[in-house]
Amino acid sequence: MSSFSRRAVTAGALASLLTACAGHGTTPPRPRTTASPVPADRGRSLVRSAPVRLLIPAIGVDTPVIRLGLASDGTVQVPPVTAHDRAGWYRHSPTPGEAGPSVLLGHVTVGPYGDGVFRHLARLHRGERITARLENGTAAEFAVTAVRTVPRTDFPADDVYGDVDRPELRLITCGGARTGDGYADNVIVFAALSGAKSPTPGER
């Protein structure tokens, strides 16, 4: 009897240890790299007006857009980690529709709150539509030209922030394998202006 109880207790302790060890090491599947250079239509530029909303129907994104600047360490600010995650526009970049790369950022996950607004950004494909509604009531329409997944240690700053001679869009989030409380890669969507919509009453 005594040996039985001892065995039972030992088995219980072992089971609890095994349970504690289970569940670690779950990593999400690595987003594919879809890099396909596309010469998108060279659209005319729009006047400068900050984005207030971003819509990406293919992945169900419809989010307000906040303004972001630089953090104290010189990196770009990112949207706050909240339950209602939003995208952010880097205010030192052109507004969507202006000539140049307009940069918008969003989280892939927001810690305890789950999925971020750009959770499925890596699923976008060439040609899919992105709409940025602007403060002045117009909307800039973009078409995806490429989706790239790059290591964060090898971030292609020139490709993202470098000058271009037409209105383009850069959507940035994180992706790839998880490293501690972050991610190893960045997912970057490149898009080019494909059209513009004039203001629609009540549509903001």
Partner: protein, 125 residues
């Protein structure tokens, strides 16, 4: 002898519970890693160029290497890579596992203690 067994059990249970403690703390502290400590180390953009050039890069042709702060273009280029992911969503699962483990350890300890006490009473020890 019995005391030795009991002490060993108590030690094992305490170790399991202490192991689960930091897991909870990690989960609670998860929202704050935004000021990326990793970001500054990702600065070497120049050394990154050659390796990227070999890739099927879509835009290097349009992204001119001469990046003077022109009108309408990016006026201040941030350093490093954006830290746009706080990956503690699986932590909820780990929290569940930790809670389960803690509960199992407490149950095992309690059961063992009850067993031993009852047996000691029965034998009159």
């Amino acid at each position: 002898m019995r005391r030795t067994v009991l002490s060993a059990l108590a030690l094992a249970g305490t170790a399991v519970l202490m192991g689960t403690g930091p897991a909870f703390a990690d989960g609670a502290a998860a929202p704050s890693p935004v000021p990326a400590s990793a970001a500054p180390t990702t600065q070497p953009e120049k050394s990154a160029e050659p390796t990227r050039a070999a890739e099927p890069a879509p835009a290097p042709a349009s992204a001119e290497p001469t990046r003077a702060p022109a009108d309408g273009q990016v006026s201040v280029v941030p350093s490093g890579a954006p830290d746009t992911g706080v990956a503690s969503s699986p932590a909820s699962g780990n929290d569940g596992a930790a809670i389960g483990a803690g509960a199992a350890a407490v149950l095992a300890l309690g059961g063992g203690t009850v067993f031993v006490v009852r047996r000691r009473r029965a034998t009159g020890a």
